[in-house]
Symmetry: C2
Subunit: 330 residues, 2 copies
């Protein structure tokens, strides 16, 4: 518990300290946002806010747990979380960089984004299959679900799905950062509860992942200093991919992937609404289900102020996280 | 832990459900805010937003713990938290009501507000002296500090101080509600940790206070649906007095009053800045330390957007709460 708190505090401090270094540098490089032409009209004022702000928190999120883990305890899961956070973050970084370099709102093509993601996800899933095993914890039912060989394609789907869902949830000030900060905090508490029931190396490995969650929450709390409304910087794909990667990696290592549809419902709602919108639009040759997809922009266009949408998403995330914790308490 | 989560969820649901009942009713009664003439100019747009929104959460905050406490466990502390929350809330309610009735920004005179507060505080302090005893826990040092007879005046000062500090922190959308929600959450965790080391009736009594904290956090989370920027309703003195009363009551019962300067620093900074400003103004015949007191308005007048000020206060409160929790972990 003490290490968890230090992990939060130190990651927060690193994020906070990097803000005044990274933001002016991004501005100097003209790393300004080119607002997507089809986005909400109220977002036009965001034109010029620097992107790639993910650089502020990715380092702390990935590396603080390495610095703080209890010496001599197992490194079983730490390489996976670092690779997943930095790996997906790097793909996002390339995308952000091209957006700026080419002075257009779109960076990599969908295919160029997807192939390295799938390669990374396959590698991680094979590693997890061999070292964690193909059984998932079924929350609230106290049982396990052995997927056998199907584990690998399912995990690839979940990893890529979470990363891209996080990416789609980004787009309002403090939305993705706030919701995923709550997710990390909830995962930290759940893993503390799980770790109490374990012993030896298993408990050590779980507690080291608690530090990963703490660092994630702390780093994002620091980033929110710069990203909360009115945002001085956006995290960009570098940030959203890294967040998705970190959350998915923790779930992968702890066999908690079935928790993700609960605690990450905000992200899921963005990708699902996008899929529904596009499918319906094609099927009906031009009709729409939502005023705009992803879902958060639908609420904005329905007249809800951006700050209130963000508050609603955070509140729903907090409630769902409490429900998830309920599944792990006696 | 399970009861704690249910306490949060049910208090949230009650608050959320009362919003659409209370807000239109307040509007109908013309319970609109008369913005204080000397407040920040940017707050003029808030003119007309209903006050007395505290009615949305006071009931849930005070009564949900009674409904959820484990049957047969001791009621030792619950009457004190209920009396403190509803009692101070009632004083605030009278003040709000007079503000509206007299169509002026000031309700009760300072003396009219202070006398019932002091009477209530003396009653509670005498009760606490007799049933909890005059020793306070000194956090981080693992010792106790026996105040003897000085306990009663010190507790009266703390109770009245916290209630009025909460009142002074109110004034930005989601500021007091957000910070005190974090305080309640932190107190809940601290009391869970304390309760684990206790047994029998002591543990029961502590766990029942955990429910009080959970209900406080949940009720405020629900209220934030209506109070986050741009606010549809303000809590008014009814709300801020009740929050101060509830936090002070929990600290009183658990002998944790020395934690308040840490976790309630946001509130304290408002009252201290007010005292400093007035004292300096009188001493120098017209000079000011802050652009405006309480402190949060100083930040606003220094050019920081309201939402960013609120985020900063919440972040600092969260960090201080983590530090406080650190004092109770092994």
């Amino acid at each position: 518990m003490q290490r968890l708190i230090w992990s939060v505090l130190i990651a927060f401090a690193v994020s906070l300290a990097l803000g005044p270094v990274v933001i002016p540098w991004l501005k100097k490089l003209k790393m300004g946002s080119n607002e997507y032409e089809l986005g909400p009209a109220t977002h036009k004022v965001k034109q010029g806010t620097p992107i790639m702000g993910g650089l502020i928190f990715i380092g702390a999120m990935a590396l603080v747990p390495l610095a703080l883990h209890k010496p001599g305890t197992t490194w079983r899961f730490l390489p996976a979380t670092v690779v997943c956070t930095l790996g997906f973050g790097a793909i996002g970084f390339v995308d952000d960089f091209l957006k700026i370099h080419n002075k257009r709102s779109l960076g990599l093509t969908p295919r160029q984004k997807m192939i390295p993601q799938i390669v990374l996800a396959i590698g991680l899933s094979i590693w997890a299959y061999r070292s964690v095993g193909p059984a998932l914890i079924v929350p609230f039912f106290g049982r396990e679900w052995n997927l056998g060989w199907a584990y690998i394609p399912v995990m690839v789907f979940i990893l890529v799905g979470v990363v891209n869902s996080a990416n789609l949830l980004d787009g309002c000030d403090g939305l993705l950062a706030g919701c995923s900060m709550i997710d990390f905090a909830a995962l930290a508490l759940i893993l503390l509860l799980i770790g109490q029931a374990q012993s030896g190396e298993d408990a050590e490995a779980t507690y080291n992942l608690v530090l990963v969650c703490g660092a994630g929450a702390g780093a994002l709390l620091g980033f929110l200093r710069y990203n909360s409304h009115p945002a001085m910087v956006f995290m960009g794909d570098s940030g959203s991919f890294a967040i998705g990667g970190a959350i998915a990696a923790v779930a992968l290592c702890t066999r908690l992937s079935l928790l993700l549809p609960i605690i990450c419902l905000a992200m899921m709602s963005s990708s699902l609404s996008d899929i529904i919108q596009v499918t319906y639009f094609k099927a009906t040759h031009g009709k729409r289900v939502f005023k705009m997809a992803p879902l958060q922009h639908h609420f904005e266009l329905s007249g809800m102020p951006e700050t209130r949408v963000v508050n609603m998403y955070r509140t729903v995330t907090a409630l769902l996280c409490l429900l998830a914790i309920l599944g792990f308490t006696a």
